[in-house]
């Protein structure tokens, strides 16, 4: 492909098969949730704690912070097993995927010692505070700002579309610590905002499915001590960009509709028409190729490479696939639907509009791929 795009074949080493079996055994014992492969749909603090007991949160992090010092590929196996099973991963997902790695990279020793062990234990959960009422894809236009005060910062403004803020403890929040200047990417910082702090208000926003998953957050003179600033003040933009490869290349970008495909297969097995068989084969072919591309990127992450363009490409292709699955399947409905078929299909259709919005809109991703092609 083009220079700078690399999907070098990699495979998940067979030595990790035991881990995969262990995750499956663990999941087989789980009974108190209805499966949904959309990582943003199910959230259970109890489930996250049970997972933590197994050592499957923060599993790549240093042992000194409670991590498992396992490889990125082992984490990949755990996360894809959880998603395929439709486990309620929503509580710890962001902390494990993004906030923890961010702190490891930019956090102070005190921050790492304070937060990472609690994340690993499943005791604290994180949200992402990026979008604002007037700043969506144009993230650099944020207006939430903080003024210097004695010992810290005074925070004012509002964030929106903050998934899980109603049950999470902290949000890593991008704020302006200097007024916008000529370089619009300068003057931003990342704060760890305790969601229950004085002056923070969380207001739920119902989504089209009637669920309250995301929120608007209001900051009204919230005091943020210096100890909760991540990295260097002013370096926020670069730090946010460094999270993107983690955020965009993982299996949650193409497995959101997996339960639909699974229940479809269960439903048509033994009575499939040729059209249904071909559709099933087509959707599996796409899935297998996406998974291989995603494993290739996981392997690059393991080697310390930050493949941002590849990650954007996987998310764009994977999201398109997640949107395709329910739309294609509904046109060839099974004659004998499995008990869960209608529920998972309906849930997927209701959630589908979010697939191509969260974690970077389709339009932003296409722009990144275009840059990788040398068009921008």
């Amino acid at each position: 492909m083009f220079q700078g795009m690399n999907f070098e074949p990699a495979t998940l080493p067979g030595e990790f098969d035991g881990l995969r079996q262990e995750v499956r055994s663990f999941l087989a014992e789980e009974t108190d949730w209805a499966p949904n492969s959309d990582f943003n749909t199910g959230a259970s603090p109890d489930f996250s704690r049970r997972l933590a007991e197994k050592g499957w949160i923060g599993m790549t992090w240093p042992k000194v912070y409670g991590g498992g010092e396992r490889s990125f590929l082992e984490r990949y196996i755990v996360t894809e097993e959880l998603l395929a099973a439709g486990a309620p991963v929503g509580c710890h997902w962001i902390a494990d995927r993004q906030s923890g790695p961010l702190l490891l990279k930019f956090g102070t020793e005190a921050q790492k010692a304070e937060f990472l062990p609690k994340i690993v234990a499943g005791d604290i959960f994180f949200s992402i505070g990026m979008s604002e009422p007037d700043s969506g894809s144009d993230l650099a236009s944020i207006r939430t700002h903080a003024d210097r005060v004695d010992g810290g910062w005074r925070l004012n403004g509002s964030k929106i579309w903050t998934s899980g803020a109603h049950h999470n403890h902290y949000m890593v929040t991008l704020v302006r610590t200097e007024p916008p200047g000529e370089n619009r990417h300068a003057g931003m910082s990342q704060f760890i905002v305790p969601i229950r702090a004085d002056g923070v208000t969380v207001r739920g926003i119902e989504n089209l499915a009637g669920e309250s998953d995301f929120n608007q957050i209001f900051f009204d003179d919230v005091f943020i001590p210096d100890e909760l600033v991540v990295g260097e003040p002013g370096n926020g933009w670069a730090q946010v960009m460094s999270e993107l490869a983690y955020e965009r290349s993982g299996p949650e970008r193409f497995l959101s509709a997996f339960r639909v495909l699974l229940e479809y297969g269960r439903s048509i097995k033994g009575n499939a028409t040729p059209e249904q068989t071909a559709l099933y084969g087509r959707l599996i072919a796409h899935l297998m190729v996406l998974r291989r591309m995603s494993v290739s990127v996981a392997n690059l992450l393991q080697q310390g490479v930050m493949p941002n363009t590849e990650a954007a490409l996987i998310k764009e292709l994977g999201n398109a696939y997640e949107r395709l699955v329910p739309e294609a399947i509904r046109l060839y409905p099974p004659k004998h639907p499995s008990p869960d078929y209608a529920r998972v299909l309906n849930e997927c259709i209701l959630h589908a509009p979010s697939f191509t919005l969260r974690g970077g809109t389709r339009e932003i991703l296409r722009g990144m791929i275009a840059r990788g092609l040398g068009l921008r």
Binding site: M1, F2, M5, F7, E8, P9, T11, L12, R20, E80, A84, A85, F258, L261, L262, G265, R266, I268, K269, G270, A272, P274, Q276, T277, A278, L279, Y280, G281, R282, I284, A285, H286, L287, M288, V289, L290, R291, R292, M293, V295, S296, L313, E316, L317, A320, E363, L365, R366, G367, I369, A370, G372, L373, G374, L375, R376
Partner: protein, 345 residues
């Protein structure tokens, strides 16, 4: 992705193809003239015997090496029966015969009938028919079905494929075979189908990569409304989407090349189905962003596009392979989908 030997093949074949494949050559072939010069170079470099063991008259190498070569051939829209000849050599090797560098093809869509040592019948719509010197074909005889190697004699109904490949019906009227290769075994037929599909997936992946590069190069140079087309978001986004499908195609084909042994039937099915599906969107996009220029005969994009349109139908189009994939995953003895997927990796 590519092993060291594959990288060498890519480098040496790229040089050869860059030197010897031109629009003029492709036009000449489409007008009915065999690409003698190109073919001699391929013979000299031993590329037509690639992947054959020394015992079969080859120079060694793997099927993955062949696929790496064909991906380059795809990039250059090579106007000669290279995949067909490599496949014929594989059948020869399977049946214990030496490989040949003569333009050859395997035909198993119809059979000849043998009587008293000579064979008759019609083989219809054979790509490259007028250029072939040998045809390996199944034939029914009183003592069973055999593979035979036939000289190409009478040619009828010369037509052209979408890609302008000279195509013809080959007629045999009590013709003696050059050799009886051995008994017709269904397993060989299945193997040939999969090899042919893998080869065409590789050809397509190369042509898709090249089409994307051409389209990107064009929009960077072409100015409209006072700036390069590349600056328009509408153009950027179309090419970005095309790039996702081209990347999926190359990754599907990498999977076939990455091992020394032949790829699994399922991986071949996935590659042929996935790459084939990428062709429609990719050719649409490349032509759309290039405007009328890409629609001309003069611009070389058309040589890639027309071949892509042919290759996606050869050795089974998308639906054929999608059904096989579906059947594999629906078969009664198979476990739940996720277990199947992770076991395959």
């Amino acid at each position: 992705m590519a092993s060291e030997s594959q990288q060498l093949i890519v480098e040496s074949s790229s040089r050869l193809l860059a030197d010897h494949v031109s629009p003029a050559l492709i036009e000449s072939v489409e007008a009915g003239h065999f690409a003698e010069g190109l073919w001699s170079r391929l013979v000299e470099q031993g590329l037509l015997l690639l992947g054959l063991d020394e015992s079969a008259g080859g120079y060694g190498g793997t099927f993955g090496d062949q696929l790496a070569l064909l991906r380059q051939m795809g990039r250059y829209a090579v106007p000669a029966p290279v995949a067909e000849t490599l496949l014929a050599n594989h059948l020869r090797a399977l049946l214990g015969a030496e490989g040949l560098t003569l333009p050859s093809a395997v035909v198993d869509s119809s059979r000849l009938t043998g009587r008293d040592g000579s064979f008759s019948g019609m083989l219809e719509d054979i790509p490259w028919g007028p250029f072939l010197q040998r045809v390996l074909v199944a034939a029914d005889t009183s003592s069973g079905t055999v593979w035979i190697e036939m000289p190409v004699g009478e040619i009828e109904n010369r037509v052209s494929s979408l890609a302008g490949e000279p195509t013809a019906t080959l007629r045999f009227d009590q013709v003696e075979p050059l050799r009886v290769l051995g008994p017709f075994i269904e397993q060989h037929q299945t193997e040939l189908l999969h090899r042919g599909a893998a080869m065409h997936a590789s050809l397509m992946a190369g042509a898709l990569e090249q089409s994307l590069e051409i389209a990107v190069g064009y929009v960077l140079e072409r100015n409209q409304f006072g700036q390069p087309l590349a600056k328009f978001q509408a153009i950027q986004h179309q090419l970005a989407v095309m790039a996702t499908h081209v990347a999926a195609s190359t990754r599907s084909v990498d999977q076939l090349q990455m091992r020394d042994e032949a790829p699994s039937d399922l991986d071949v099915a996935i590659a042929k189905a996935r790459v084939g599906e990428a062709v429609g969107l990719s050719t649409d996009t490349a032509h759309q962003v290039m405007g009328a220029m890409g629609y001309t005969r003069e611009h070389h994009l058309n040589y890639l596009t027309r071949r892509l349109w042919v290759w996606r139908d050869r050795f089974g189009h998308e639906t054929v392979w999608q059904q096989r994939i579906g059947e594999y995953f629906l078969s009664a003895n198979q476990a739940d989908l996720w277990m199947q997927i992770t076991e395959l990796s």
